[in-house]
């Protein structure tokens, strides 16, 4: 194979800088480590943070998977997968079970991850307090003093206005009883999965932050005693594979109000259909 790029695209000094940030992030779970984010050959918002973390993490032996809202075949997922196929020469897969490094935008795979897997999140706004307090100097201070009352006020206002905590994605969590962290815009259905066996790394390219959650770290979704946290999903089964335990996307079928619900995790849905499960609108596997 002709190598037109340094391994995994980034230069060595950049990867060392990112690697040092990842190690500090793992040592202080949930704390946002500043890093000197580089220009990547894709626009901000397309996963530049996740790509840089993946580039610093990949080895030639890895099998790489990319999902975008659970799907392996959206433009974003396909282009990032091809990027590392070309620049790092790694094997790629769409199967969660076969992947050693999984980069994700806005979902955690349905299948439980193992100890030998790494999950890399693309993060747009890493600061959970940013929409409550725009000044970085102040949010830094709030984290250092564990001054998280404002976040509970926000959740309380949800209850007073909507009767329930209306936050449905990017639901704030407290990591290891210390830092309040934005789990990236995953649906709150995925929040309980944040306590897992795999290493979780979060990269925010435009905002220049890296953070991490080591395996088996305590991650608690913020709530109140009388309004406990509830992971929610559409109250349906998948119309293709019949799964009742997976997060669903709603698809409009026509202009007569017909719709279907399908697994957001395409690999989970595919593996279930291959195993013979059939949903309401599904067809028997050939």
């Amino acid at each position: 194979m002709t190598q037109d790029y340094n391994f995994a695209y980034l230069d060595e000094q950049t990867k060392r800088m990112i690697r040092r940030a990842i190690l500090k992030g793992l040592a202080v779970p949930g704390y946002q480590v500043p890093f000197a984010s580089r220009e990547m050959p894709m626009p901000y918002g397309w996963g530049t943070g996740g790509v840089q973390v993946s580039a610093a993490t990949l080895t030639p032996e890895d099998t790489f998977k990319v999902i975008d809202q659970g799907s392996d075949d959206t433009t974003n997922a396909v282009s990032i997968r091809k990027f590392f196929e070309k620049t790092a020469g790694v094997a790629v897969t769409e199967e969660t079970e076969k992947a050693s490094v999984i980069q994700t935008r806005h979902r955690i795979p349905e299948a439980a991850l193992r100890e030998d897997q790494i999950l890399v999140y693309q993060v747009p706004i890493p600061e959970p307090l940013r929409f409550l307090e725009p000044r970085e100097t102040e949010t830094r201070k709030m984290h250092s003093l564990q001054e998280y009352g404002l976040m509970h006020v926000k959740l309380y206002e949800d209850i007073s206005q909507h009767g329930a905590i209306a936050t449905a994605y990017a639901y704030p969590v407290r990591v290891s009883d210390r830092y309040v962290m934005d789990p990236s815009p995953i649906p709150k259905f995925d929040n309980p999965k944040l306590e897992m066996a795999a290493i979780q790394l979060f990269g925010a390219g435009r905002e220049q932050r890296i953070y991490a959650v080591p395996p088996y770290t305590k991650v608690v979704s913020l709530d109140f005693e009388d309004y406990p946290f509830e992971p929610t999903k559409a109250d349906h089964a998948c119309d293709l594979c019949g799964a009742e335990d997976s997060y669903l996307d709603e698809v409009i079928l026509d202009d007569a109000g017909n719709r279907m619900f399908v697994c957001s995790d395409t690999d989970y849905c595919r593996s279930r259909r291959e195993a013979g499960h059939v949903g309401r609108l599904g067809e028997e596997a050939a």
């Binding site: 040592a27 500043p34 610093a56 030639p60 290891s176 080591p214 395996p215 088996y216």
Partner: protein, 192 residues
């Protein structure tokens, strides 16, 4: 002089991009799972530095990171090797991003930076050379550990004191020959 120059040049990575990627994965895995021991045996630094400690320095250090060489590690051979392969400046303990040496040579720990409340990441990482490294001794709990783990720590009481500073504090790698383990500040330690 010639001998020094030869030692300085030998013993680095033969394929830096690939070997540092593999070395980092080992370092990341042990930092994410306190108590776990992995092989890290690529570089051949001058004596008395171990292969694991040398590999870690090559993987993480460059002109942006001050390195403190403690005790017998601070030799002309070692300074030459570090300068040739990483370009990292050798600095005093209070300015170090990384420090390497035997436990006794690294003491007292309060010389090193522990970060600030706003930026706890601005703290030193200590690479401690041990005579033996095994999954026995002090009992560890906390992030990265399923129930509990055990590791042969040099001074559990001092390291438990470091954990008390959380989220500030030092992070440790323990190296022995070609093997490595780690202890982040987040780990709770009790004497086994």
């Amino acid at each position: 002089m010639t001998a020094t120059a030869t030692t300085a040049i030998a013993g680095g990575f033969s394929d830096p991009a690939i070997e540092s990627a593999r070395a980092f994965r080992a370092a990341m895995n042990v930092m994410a799972r306190p108590g776990e021991i992995r092989d890290l045996d690529m570089a051949r630094p001058p004596a008395p530095l171990s292969a694991a400690a040398g590999t870690l320095l090559l993987t993480l250090c460059d002109p942006e990171t001050g390195v403190h060489l403690a005790g017998a590690c601070d030799s002309a051979e070692m300074r030459g090797w570090l300068a040739f392969h990483t370009g990292a400046p050798v600095v005093s303990a209070d300015r170090a991003g990384f420090a390497v040496g035997r436990w006794a040579d690294l003491l007292p720990l309060d010389r090193f930076r522990i970060g600030t409340p706003e930026y706890p990441d601005r703290s030193a990482t200590l690479i401690v050379e041990l005579e033996a490294l095994q999954q026995a001794g002090a009992s560890l709990r906390g992030p990265g550990i399923k129930d509990s783990a055990a590791l042969s720590l040099p001074d559990p009481a001092a390291l438990a004191g470091n954990a008390m500073l959380y989220p500030l504090g030092l992070d440790f790698f323990f190296t022995c020959g070609g093997r490595i383990a780690a202890l982040p500040r987040s780990t709770q330690i009790s004497e086994g």
